[in-house]
Symmetry: C3
Subunit: 267 residues, 3 copies
């Protein structure tokens, strides 16, 4: 088996498995059995069950902070055991493993990437169940890859993987863009899909961000730069503009969640 | 101190400590102080407080996926500080440490095993508290064992550890077996105690699985192989038959949880 | 860069980030990119958002069980991006990194310690955001320190860090001390701020511990040493006296939480 020279391998896990079952622990047992020196890092196991878009957001947010050659496993997989394919994506100098259902699409959309279907059953755990491919396919493939197995040994390249055109605000009038809330974080910040780099004018021109009945006109420079109860816009650590309040939940205050429409007007 | 040759040691943790206190972190501090190169793996800290049977189920489900010589620590311990004994179990080529209250019984019941009472206070953290043996006895014993200390140094063999005859469906009529729900997972799947290997006829003969007022007659091959709202039986990744629905919680739909009776009729 | 000789470095994390976002995973990516052989240990990410005192309690409880030179990162940081300073504390042979807002004060109050302001941006992740210093300042500084960078390279010593006189019961009458509940753990035990070593007479003399309308007169030696429904006092693993019941939540039974006043009378 051909191998690459390597540092201590890192494998990350992003799933909807929760932490009250044995599922996440089992993935780690399988991984350490194959690749004993791996550092296994939980991104999150608290993706809401079957919420592919939430898993997609989390892994897309997390991967840029990991070293080259990290292997990221993302499993939100309502179609487990059906015809949907397991895939390996090479992008941004890192590896991504998961079902071909969009959970990896926020990573590869818009950047150079190569996709392989994971087919080499030599790297599976046998017998392969119909209900737990995280254990039987995704985590062993990740561990073998982290151990130095070449991507080409895992499976052949494909080009018909799921493409999703998503998460971009649409221009709906001369000065108006309509976007959406991508994610609500633990603190109740509403992360919009307006990327800071795509909308730099928000920093220099008057604007209005409308969500529900609320209209926001101010960009804060940090959370404490605000009046009590004020909802403000902030250039978040995510790279997107976020609707926030100071020390309370903007999501609760506004009664909004993922998918809520957001209108930006630039004057 | 006699030592075994060894790979990178693995220690797993299954507890009811939750993750909002310092308890699980403290276990890891103690372990890494004794055995710095250990990989410490959380199976779960979300066992419901004092629910020994849930802890027993989780560790029994997880351990087969770990390499030989893994040391598994299972702590659901309402009797901490009382007369119940700390034990070390050798079974299936692995080690298991926990209180002798049944939390390890699903692992050792029905297979070859050796049990020792953990008595050598040389391997304890002093002073030993009355309320946190996870910190003072179980995790240091696990770390010393993972570091190469021989089981015989930990304590003497015993034979009067808790034996539980459990989790087996009973034949209640010529064609009828009565079992129970062992566990409800995060997705709402009801894991019964009907093992796939003990009831192979379910795959080939007409059957009825009755739970509450619902009667289930179909074995699905994966979760997506179903009608909307249908409750079906599936041979789960646990090795047991599970009552499931597609992308919703069968437990919520049926209003049933762990301990609910389940009747299987084979025609 | 000057380095210390070292064992496998340990970095712990205590935050209010939760585990349903990518935040905790990102910290680990940053750390492993700088210090690949670090063991990263979660103390807890479930500190209630912005509850500095809870984070302070958890790290103060956890650190004594970690080996010398462990680097502890504690991030509960409502003032992120404002003028509050990032600090590095050397105390008890270990390192502590976090904002200068009191989250580390329970560690350093009353013991020898040295404090530095973290200013050397060579050890930051760039660009430094206004909202996620855990990623951009605290975790990279921790990883460089764990990699052998000297504390003096991180920043200059300061002496005007936040001092808090807290958590000590006050004598309010000849035989009466008034304290408070520091923390409620997962099992519903109410951890008071009466330290076992400061109030040894509780063990040998008649006493009354009053919380709400309830008056407790008995010190139990372990949780099972009690009547059903009885609330008792116990010398907890925390080092403090705790109000507990057997297998149910004392906090729910008493309707009390962190901050509730507690009166101790020694007869």
């Amino acid at each position: 088996m051909a191998t690459r020279k390597r540092d201590r391998p890192i494998i990350t896990l992003t799933t909807d498995f929760g932490t009250s079952d044995h599922f996440a622990g089992v993935l780690k047992g399988v991984i350490l059995g194959i690749c004993p020196d791996a550092a296994v890092v939980d991104i999150s196991h608290e993706v809401r069950p079957f919420e592919i878009s939430q898993g997609a957001f989390l892994i897309a947010q997390a991967y840029p902070y990991f070293p080259p050659k990290t292997v990221h496993v993302a499993i939100v997989d309502p179609g487990v055991g059906s015809a949907r394919r397991p895939i390996l994506v090479e992008a941004a100098g890192q590896y991504f493993i998961g079902p071909d259902n969009g959970v990896l699409a926020m990573v590869y959309t818009g950047i150079d990437h190569r996709v392989r279907e994971i087919t080499n059953s030599k790297y599976f755990l046998h017998p392969v169940s119909r209900t737990f491919h995280g254990r039987d396919i995704f985590s062993p493939a990740a561990a073998w890859l982290a151990s130095g197995v070449r991507p080409a040994s895992i499976g052949k390249r494909i080009d018909d993987h799921l493409k999703i055109e998503f998460y971009k605000p649409q221009r709906t009038a001369k000065r108006i863009w309509t976007g959406t809330v991508l994610h609500v974080d633990r603190f109740g910040n509403l992360i919009t899909n307006f990327h800071v780099e795509d909308f730099p004018d928000v920093r220099t021109r008057p604007f209005e961000m409308a969500i529900g009945p609320r209209k926001v006109h101010r960009l804060a420079i940090n959370y404490t730069d605000s009046e009590p109860g004020e909802v403000f816009l902030i250039g978040g650590s995510s790279g997107y503009y976020e609707l926030s309040t100071n020390q309370t939940s903007a999501a609760k205050l506004l009664g909004c969640g993922p998918g809520a429409p957001v209108d930006l007007t630039l004057y």
